[in-house]
């Protein structure tokens, strides 16, 4: 369980997150939606200690993240940011093997390599595992990064816009992978996502943010609602029920 209590953050006097309190359920996919600049990425970066909060408390399974050793935290929570520009001559397999750093400190044993292989297979990267990152397309690179996070094998996985640069097939593949991680392996996944239909179809819970505040949080079917979405996006969005899924028509 991730507990966020009265968290504030501002950049150069501009308030980005204002008094956010949230509880994120374990063993579920929680999606963060909201317009650009709502503070979704900032919030998820604070949970993963990439940026410091100005005020408030964040704890994971009852342990304050600021009191916990960075290396211990790295075995519990992992994050993938949206922009990943690594200018190293690195193959896919080498990148994925970095995910084992918290356990191995750079000296990987057989078990670590097993986990690396698993992650590569999970993301269907087997046939391109020896290619260099700069030879890959944006989508392939994104999948390689996700494989690294999977190899890190943490209970909590945070992804900042994981569907960026991906076509439909790969977007669906990744969302299904995340679903499997939650359903089969009992992981907890937090994602920042722009496509509300993906959020609606694949997540258990949704947190809607606007101007640094939580507008609505709850089960996916409760948040994907005409009035709520109007509130968040200032747009009239039609919602259709198709095969028991709530699909937003906003074109």
């Amino acid at each position: 369980m991730v507990d966020i209590k009265n968290v504030f953050k501002s950049f150069n006097q501009k308030k980005v997150i204002e008094d956010v309190s949230l509880t994120i359920e374990k063993g579920k996919i929680t999606s963060f939606i909201g317009p650009n600049g709502a503070g979704k990425s900032t919030l998820i970066s604070m949970v993963s200690r990439l940026i410091a909060k100005d005020n408030g408390d964040i704890s994971i399974d009852g342990k304050d993240i600021m009191q916990t050793k960075s290396n211990e935290l790295a075995k519990k929570i992992s994050i993938l940011k949206q922009s990943n520009s690594i200018n190293l001559k690195l193959t896919v397999r080498e990148l994925v093997s970095f995910g084992r750093f918290p356990y191995s400190q750079g000296k990987l044993n057989d078990y670590d390599w097993e986990k690396v292989d698993e992650a590569i297979d999970y993301m269907e990267l087997r046939d391109m595992q020896d290619k260099f990152l700069d030879q890959l397309s944006g989508g392939q690179r994104q999948r390689a990064h996700i494989a690294m996070v999977i190899a890190q094998d943490t209970e909590y996985i945070l992804l900042d816009e994981p569907l960026n640069n991906l076509d439909m097939r790969h977007s669906v593949q990744i969302m299904k992978t995340l679903r499997n991680l939650v359903d089969e392996l009992g992981k907890t996944v937090l994602i920042v996502i722009h496509d509300i239909n993906f959020a609606s179809c694949y997540s258990d819970n949704i947190v809607a943010l606007k101007d640094g505040k939580v507008v609505k949080q709850g089960r996916a079917c409760d948040v994907i609602d005409k009035c709520v979405l109007k509130d968040i996006y200032d747009m009239d969005i039609d919602i259709k029920d198709i095969d028991n899924k709530r699909i937003c028509v906003y074109f």
């Binding site: 950049f11 993963s48 990439l50 935290l73 990943n84 690594i86 190293l88 001559k89 918290p102 890190q152």
Partner: protein, 316 residues
């Protein structure tokens, strides 16, 4: 050919050049020439290794391939600290007379500055490399201008006394400091051991490093201190060489084609040693001291620097 074989080749070339430099045309009073050549070679080896090491670490923690400690003005700062000491306490004071005390005081100054640099480089949440480059260029120019300003104000006789000791070059190696530098070098390598495993991960960028559990702030601060001491050492022994680090680290990456810092560190130290000893040999035997190696290295390195800037510019 893998990077391991290439590292071995570099090692052989470096050893060969070192031996060539020591034993070439060894005629006359061997008992006088040989020890002098050896101490000069040790100084050059130390400098080359220190610059290769410091620049590799610096480029890794700042995540770029253009910015080096020298481009940021760290070696100009060393000269500024030296000049400031004479300016304040005079050339005949205890601090100036005992070169070891002077050396350690200057290194202390550099460490303090590197901690300030840490705040400048890493306190803001996002860094713009061109901004840093600009800051570095301005600081470097500022430091050398202040240095020459102080030198103008100092009593000329006092300045002459101090200059000889302060401003070394490859032709005029600061031999008093060689022994203490060897000790310092070994100490730094031992100190470095704890942080060495983090380098590969740091190269992935701050976000990835933090995600993978690197205690980022502490590690980067300590590494910057190591960089500052290495640069002080190199500058004290043979004087500033702005573009050497840039040249050798990039060549090491291009030549070895690996991301593993173990090999990149060794590779850039070796290439740096090859460039310095080979270059010095050519300067002495071919140009018969008509030019200095700093000029050659800055000429080649400067061109390479412009090439890198243009290349980076295109990819953005």
């Amino acid at each position: 050919m893998g990077y391991k074989q290439k590292t071995i080749i570099l090692t052989l070339i470096a050893i060969l050049l070192t031996l060539l430099y020591i034993f070439y045309d060894l005629t006359g009073n061997i008992g006088y020439i040989l020890p002098r050549r050896i101490i000069k070679v040790v100084a050059i080896l130390l400098t080359g290794a220190a610059i290769g090491f410091a620049t590799t670490i610096f480029m890794t923690i700042t995540n770029n391939r253009i910015l080096t400690p020298s481009v940021l003005g760290l070696d100009s700062l060393y000269l500024l600290i030296q000049t400031a000491i004479i300016f304040v306490v005079g050339a005949n004071s205890l601090v100036m007379m005992n070169s070891h005390v002077n050396y350690l005081v200057s290194i202390g100054g550099m460490v303090v500055f590197s901690l300030l640099l840490y705040r400048l480089l890493f306190s803001s949440e996002q860094n713009n490399i061109y901004f840093l480059l600009l800051v570095g260029m301005i600081l470097g120019t500022f430091f050398s201008s202040i240095t020459s300003f102080m030198q103008v104000l100092i009593d000329p006789n006092e300045f002459m006394v101090a200059q000889d000791r302060m401003f070394a070059s490859v032709n005029n190696v600061n031999t008093d400091l060689v022994y203490i530098s060897v000790v310092l070098f070994v100490l730094l390598l031992v100190y470095m051991m704890r942080y060495y495993k983090y380098l590969d991960v740091l190269a992935l960028g701050k976000d990835n490093a933090v995600n993978l559990g690197v205690p980022y702030g502490r590690v980067v601060k300590h590494l910057l201190v190591i960089v500052a001491v290495f640069i002080s050492m190199a500058t004290a022994l043979v004087g500033p060489m702005t573009f050497l680090g840039l040249l050798v680290v990039n060549l090491a990456y291009e030549f070895l084609k690996t991301f593993r810092h173990f090999y990149i560190l060794i590779g850039s130290m070796l290439i740096s040693i090859i460039a310095l000893i080979g270059g010095q040999f050519i300067v002495e035997e071919v140009f018969t001291f008509k030019t200095t190696i700093s000029v050659i290295i800055n000429f080649i390195g400067g061109i390479y620097f412009i090439y890198l800037l243009l290349k980076e510019n295109k990819s953005w």
